[in-house]
Symmetry: C2
Subunit: 191 residues, 2 copies
Amino acid sequence: MKRSIGAKPVLYPTPTLVVGTYDAQGKANAMTAAWGGICCSKPPCVAVSLRAATYSHGNIVARGAFTVSVPSRDHVREVDYFGVASGRDQDKFSQAGLTAAASEVVDAPYVSEFPLILQCSLLKQVEIGLHTQFIGEIVDILAEEDCLDERGRVDVLKLRPFVYAPENMSYFALGEDLGRAFSIGKELRGD
Amino acid sequence: MKRSIGAKPVLYPTPTLVVGTYDAQGKANAMTAAWGGICCSKPPCVAVSLRAATYSHGNIVARGAFTVSVPSRDHVREVDYFGVASGRDQDKFSQAGLTAAASEVVDAPYVSEFPLILQCSLLKQVEIGLHTQFIGEIVDILAEEDCLDERGRVDVLKLRPFVYAPENMSYFALGEDLGRAFSIGKELRGD
């Protein structure tokens, strides 16, 4: 039996994306965003939504670039910190004990300790309401070598990312493999 | 050590969203999309990106509405099928053995057997490249009662959603709880 729970921003699961930017003084900043995801295959693009009040919002508008660092479960605590502090008040990288590395392809820093880095050039800025959606073209991806399989593709079991569950307000690891995509449903097609 | 793996649409994890629409004849259709996520809190909005070639794309443009049904792990096979067949060729609901229910608040159907339903009115259509991003305002959410906690919030452990891992091309369940959001990182703030 279903019942209405009202209009609210709820979806399961949402990712934990760490957005890297430079401020006007060139100080690296990082913030955690759960509102985002891939939004186009060609050109490859990722979207992240930020409130105008955040420090990172102004940084992206000014620099036209950002990175999305995907953390592994080894850094849940630092990721949570990146979501509860502001770069206006603190040097978040040093406070978290993490390293800001400069992207070689876009004007933005990334979290050196995190295993997967999407380096993005700002393609579109979409004003929706409380949040602005920044659509970044993925210019290049950096990955830790030990997270790649023998064919050079990212292996999620080596990457060990985690997700955010909005109403639980908790982070969760990934669990068991439930089956091959574009495969296990084919028999229902009847061909 | 990091290395470049090029520019491609890769992110971990991505959700498995089943988009419900009506075609011109009023036939219900469902397709699976992994490119999407929440994109605004006020008004609450969800984004899904679809190629113009899909049957659902034309349906959303014509009707100005869609639903996003979040499946539980009990229906991985049907979700995969919704991603590998077209509503142009098949009645996907009957082929999957699932039930199309009419939303009472928007002009779109949803998957009755799935536990969480975002009912959306089309707010913006953003042309990016191969994919069009549809931003839907979440008018109301329906949830199965047995997926709610005692305060009426969705409990992800009862919902049992799953994620898609792009380069593994597999679906994964959620695993262990790694800690409270907006909490475990606070001590790093030093206040």
